[in-house]
């Protein structure tokens, strides 16, 4: 199966007054059609910037430079024309953002905010688009969608607005949905509802998902595979099963240890490990986690560990893992999608 999305050695840096910020540094992963990948990491580890890179949705003031490749259906999104990108954004790739309270246009009825995207991408007439928008709103669980679609966002709660966002993102039946902490800003009870909805709809529609979160509970509920990020770099990449059974990277282990009895606690948040992540404005020599790691080797401080394949469906950026892997000499099977 050729991958739907293939990110190859993506690096993103911002020129700021305080210096150059390396927000993403050498990220690679791939995603098959209908598959779901969770990206986990502490705040500031580069998750949002990674997801914005896919659709080139940087801010107007950002002085940004991007390198690497983002192949979507074989085309490099970092190099396609504006017109091509315009068809992909909202058409083939939908996106749900973190803050539902500010993500909707405050002076446009919610139905129109769904319908305009349908009209733009499918060329449907106004009434057609409107009808489909109402269907979509109904499908994401807006009660009385037929009437409420005429209302402005401020008469909806946070959870309802996030449902509207989901409707917008899925309106044109995309191949890929990117959700950047879609439930972080919501009440706990509402979080679970929105997650369930997202998961259900994307399975029904056969949409691939990138779920960005700092919450292992969210990953467990929605992802087949997980990519752990730290200080702009990928640390570990494995199936969700491996993550909880035998996480390899000391950083991942540390994170998991700090989530008490996580199997029972769906909303366990990441607790900080002792020490601070490195500043992204300075050049990081060696492993970024080395200063906080309890297994640090000399090599860790000098050389950056690449992602080593340490088993089927399992990669880890750790020199310890590399040594173990060398001893065991794994057969070189290609990566198998779960």
């Amino acid at each position: 199966m050729s991958a739907l999305l293939e990110v190859k050695d993506l690096s993103v840096s911002f020129e700021t007054r305080g210096g150059v910020v390396r927000a993403v540094d050498g990220l690679s992963f791939s995603l098959g059609a209908g598959e779901s990948l969770g990206i986990v990491g502490e705040s500031g580890s580069g998750k949002t910037v990674s997801s914005l890179s896919i659709l080139r949705l940087f801010g107007l003031f950002d002085d940004v430079s991007v390198s690497g490749k983002i192949l979507f259906e074989g085309r490099d999104l970092l190099r396609v024309s504006e017109a091509e990108l315009s068809r992909i954004r909202g058409g083939k790739i939908g996106m749900v953002f973190q803050d539902p309270l500010t993500s909707l246009n405050p002076v446009m009825p919610v139905g129109e905010q769904v319908a305009e995207s349908i009209r733009f991408h499918t060329g449907a007439s106004r009434p057609q688009a409107h009808r489909r928008a109402v269907e979509m709103l109904d499908r994401v669980g807006i009660p009385d969608a037929n009437k409420r679609c005429e209302e402005l966002p401020h008469s909806f709660s946070g959870g309802m607005r996030q449902r509207v966002m989901v409707a917008i993102a899925l309106a044109c039946e995309p191949k890929l949905l990117i959700a950047d902490e879609p439930t972080t800003a919501l009440d706990v009870t509402v979080q679970a509802q929105v997650l369930l909805l997202l998961d259900e709809l994307r399975r029904e529609m056969g949409i691939a998902l990138i779920m960005i979160t700092h919450d292992f509970g969210v990953v467990a509920a929605t992802a087949d595979r997980v990519l752990v990020m730290y200080a702009a770099q990928p640390m570990e990449h494995c199936s969700i099963h491996h993550l909880f059974q035998r996480a390899n990277h000391p950083y991942t282990e540390g994170l998991l240890r700090l989530v008490p009895r996580f199997e029972h606690q769906v909303h366990g948040r990441l607790h900080p490990i002792e020490g601070q992540p490195p500043a992204l404005t300075e050049e990081i020599v060696g492993c970024p986690f080395a200063p906080r790691c309890s297994f640090t080797l000399d090599r860790c401080k000098q050389e950056r560990p690449p992602l080593f394949r340490i088993g089927p469906d399992h990669e880890s950026a750790c020199w310890l893992a590399a040594e173990r892997a060398e001893r065991e000499t794994l057969p070189d099977k290609p990566w198998k999608a779960v």
């Binding site: 315009s86 993500s103 002076v107 909806f156 309802m160 509402v190 509802q193």
Partner: protein, 328 residues
Amino acid sequence: MSSTDNKESVLPARRRARAGEGIGVLLLRRLRDGIITLLLVVAVIFVLAHVVGDPALVFSPVDASDEEVERIARAFGLDRPFWERFGSYFADIFTGDFGESWWQNRPALAAVAEALPNTIYLTLAGIAGAALTGIVGGVFAGSRPGSLFDRGSNFFSISALSVPNFWLGLLFIVIFSVQLGWFPTSGMFGVSSIVLPALTIAVVHGGRVFQLVRSATVEEMSKPYVRVARSKGFPHRMVLWRHVLRNTGLTTATIAGWEYVRLWGGAVFAIEWVFAWPGIGTLTINAAERQDFFVLQAAVIIAGVFVIVSNLVVDLLYRVIDNRIKSS
């Protein structure tokens, strides 16, 4: 669906109370504020003339002898007690009796009434130019911050608004009237005379409108919903028209409205003087030179009324349109 999902209220309590308040109540409240302001203006003029200065001297011609001054004081009832004078002053003003102009030999109010339409004409022409250039330029510049157009127009507008308006007026006269002979140097003769004074207003105040509209646009463009609109695949132009302008349109119109009020707050009078435009500004300065106290007083009060009224209109229009948008 659990009911918790719907419980959050979105508007802060105060905004909700305000939004629910009828336009009628609002109108009454603003009218009350306006009347209080006007009373204060009138009272301050009285205090300045009667307490700080000596009204008898002010009312007398410059070369009057002491006896004449005293006769004038009696004729105007200035020997009466303070409160009595204050009372009759107020009664006169609010019955429309602003006294006689001894320079023009007619009621002071008549002189002001003749000048007022000319000032309105000039300010409207000027603000139309300012709003057009300021709003169009500000939206384009603010929607692409840092672009060549943004940097160029930003520089130009800052220069425009830092130049004193009378100086710019004089510059225009030298270039367009004296050198090129395209427009009359001064006065009000036909349509061509309004071009230069209106242009002066358009440039200086357009610069301010540009700055305010630009920053409102920049601020709006960095809101999260704009990123969402971009994530739908819309090109820049569509994001701007369908989303950003829907939100900033009203603010933008209000910026032009406030600028109009500001113009009445003084800027137009200097421009009138430079171009000898027969409006309230020129009248005021002439009256001051001729010690024509009653014309001076009438001009200041009528201009004050105009500022208060235009303030009120801008504010009310803003609320009415805002409510219409919010409840549509």
